[in-house]
Symmetry: C2
Subunit: 151 residues, 2 copies
DNA sequence: TCATCATTATAGCCATTGCTATATTGTAGG
DNA sequence: CCTACAATATAGCAATGGCTATAATGATGA
């Protein structure tokens, strides 16, 4: 809407437009990388646990169908985060491992923080799975500080 | 991967499978409703500020193109959250107003909470725009409790 | 060895969320 | 009144992330 500098203008209802558009833009960027982060994190966990990450296991853990996983793995391979041999499990590249490790750490901090705040473990687990992807380094640092000195 | 009850099995690397799949499922559900919540919240703010919510204003605030908004508004109308007259601004139905109010409140609590935790206002604003959609009522309650008794 | 079965690959479908280009409509000024 | 111009509508495209059905492959066990 256009600026209406009349006497009865209610200031404060709307936040600064430039700031708001920047927030929405950043959120859209985070949403695009969300799935990739969950995939590499899960792949790293599966490899750490059983030595390999297979499509069926990834699909079962994510609760999606196997072709959905197959398509995403192609994308991850195209982005250089994993390597795959036909009809074999996948493994992480150096770049993929780094992203997985960063994601795992951040996820752990968010979940621990929620628990420290008094949220039940079950709810903390669910909420952290979504929240983790929208937490900046600054907010993550604030979470860490709280964990070091809760209450 | 299959269960491998060997002696060298590393327990604890992988979380419970059923719990994990439930987390991912809930996150996918939240992701689907994210945009709708931001739209109705923004529409309510625009109406409160200027008396009307036009496509150009919504588009400018979200940082997307006008046809993107037009398409989403059709969806919101189909879902009964807004009413629109051709070539006119939109307004919220009773249902849309309720969702907008709930979203606005939740958004405000999340942003205030981050600030109270020591996050800078600019970062809190950005992070809250994403985090808000993945916060359960239980976690929101924990945020409120902290706001009532911080530090 | 080789047949079966679990796993992976592929094809084709749909919904969502973005875009550009362009047609249509409404309205305000001259 | 009527013409610009601003706003909206529409068409068509692309990427993402789901799905089912089915083909191709690998590995296991008899
Ligand atoms: Mn995660
Ligand atoms: Mn996650
Ligand atoms: Mn919001
Ligand atoms: Mn938001």
């Amino acid at each position: 809407m256009s600026i209406k500098p009349t006497a009865e203008t209610f200031q404060g209802v709307l936040v600064d437009a430039d700031a708001q558009v920047e927030s929405f833009r950043q959120t859209r960027i985070s949403r695009r990388t969300e799935l990739v982060e969950d995939y590499v994190e899960l792949i790293a966990d599966l490899i750490a646990d059983g030595g390999e990450a297979r499509q069926v296991d990834i699909a079962q853990r994510l609760g999606v169908a196997q072709p959905t996983v197959a398509k995403m793995l192609k994308r991850l391979a195209a982005e250089g985060l994993i390597q795959q041999k036909p009809y074999r499990g996948v493994f992480l590249t150096a770049e993929g491992s780094e992203l997985a490790e960063r994601s795992r750490e951040r996820h752990q901090i968010v979940e621990s923080f929620l628990c420290a705040l008094g949220v039940s473990p079950a709810t903390a687990r669910i909420d952290a799975e979504g929240i983790e992807h929208y937490v900046s380094t600054e907010t993550l640092q604030a979470f860490k500080s709280y964990l070091n000195n809760p209450r």
